[in-house]
Symmetry: C2
Subunit: 247 residues, 2 copies
């Protein structure tokens, strides 16, 4: 039964699912739905996900969206996925659910608001400084919770584990989105969280070479934006055109 | 092995867990942690949940927080919970996870922002009208999604089901929090969504008499606030004192 992933590698939860499937040797067809080209708003994609959000999957005739539910479904439906990704033990599984639930209104919420508002000038959108500050507050508080609560324990992964779970992938891919900030802002926000930085490296190593391969488009965007941050005399329009036409 | 629920019946996810346990005949000890008395910030409760949020549970030596993960854990760990609450079928379970994941940044997010800002004057807090409007926008959009997408299908429950799941309980308890609004605002927001109103009634009926018993504290608060909304010459301070001392 064919597994189709509707994804955009510039979307953090899309990347988590791609890396998970590749790291577990699961065959799939990658169907690119480019957000910058507004392809997620097309009637074709709306037939897959009526909420018009990425990622989504189709497995045979079964359609599903929301990245955490997709990760859990794939980990459960495909034989051969190592138990540490989504343990069968009820208490271990419950703790992973707890991190995933926490993620939505904390790390995800903070990162999305902060990035949207920090990049607004680059994207030719109106800047809301109050919203950017609020986003940064939630983001920094979330990073502090990861550093001081979720990464407590002996192992290098969330919940003190010695091997990664779907929660590590989801949260690390969220934080990786900060790569597209200018270096100064990224260091200011992430720099104080040494365990977080080490955990990102551990997750990258545990899923190599897929981690960097799937993030490659983001790294390219980082280089492109890095040039734009430094350029003199740039206009918002130029960058917006560049982003929407070339990515 | 004893199950302890750390809850406040004025908290919507606390109520979902209480109703779930009562409807399934699960024995538990209810430990009240009163948010208005800031008991969730005490060192005793921090030892249960380092994030200082309600609800939380302790089952034997196992501690857990985040209401969706708690509902899933209890449904899985206690024999005798009917399958419809959290089906073993992978695709049905995945769809329930999808609704629960969606909930956080949509219905929950909108309802919490809207209520916090609408009730700010009553609670003696500064009113942010822009935030209240933004909250209402997210809340109304979420109700529309429930009406037009999640409640599509033949059955009266989410995903077209004929029996309720943990997702029905979680989302209905969230919407029930709107009871404490004044009647005009509540009708304006909820009135257009006929299927949603019918679904709340179906969920209430499926879990009676526990639904109303657990919501009783909220109904009392509604009556109290209703008097305050109508009273002339009330001061913010009066209501705040009333809320913090008597509820």
């Amino acid at each position: 039964m064919e597994l189709k992933l509707y994804v955009d590698r510039l979307s953090q939860p899309s990347r988590a699912i791609l890396i998970f499937c590749k790291a577990n040797g699961i065959d799939f067809q990658e169907i690119k739905v480019e957000i910058f080209k507004r392809q997620h708003l097309s009637p074709e994609f709306q037939a897959i996900n009526p909420l018009q959000k990425l990622p989504a999957i189709v497995h045979g005739s079964f359609k599903l969206f929301e990245s955490h539910s997709i990760l859990i479904y794939i980990a459960s439906a495909f034989p051969g996925v190592a138990n540490h990704w989504y343990p069968t033990d009820l208490t271990k599984r419950a703790k992973i659910h707890s991190v995933l639930d926490w993620h939505h209104l904390n790390l995800r919420h903070g990162a999305v608001i902060y990035l949207r508002n920090s990049l607004a000038p680059v994207l030719g959108l109106p800047l809301n400084q109050e919203a950017a500050a609020e986003g940064e507050k939630i983001l920094v508080s979330s990073l502090s919770t990861i550093e001081n609560i979720w990464l407590q324990g002996n192992g290098p992964y969330l919940l003190g584990s010695f091997q990664p779970s779907i929660a590590d992938l989801s949260l690390v891919c969220e934080i990786m989105q900060l790569e597209i900030l200018n270096e100064k802002d990224r260091d200011r926000i992430l720099g104080p969280y040494k365990k977080v930085l080490q955990w990102i490296e551990s997750t990258r190593n545990a899923t190599k070479p897929h981690f960097d391969e799937v993030h490659n488009l983001l790294y390219k965007l980082k280089v492109k934006l890095s040039g734009q941050y430094q350029a003199d005399g740039m206009t918002e329009l130029k960058i917006q055109t560049s982003l929407t036409s070339k990515i």
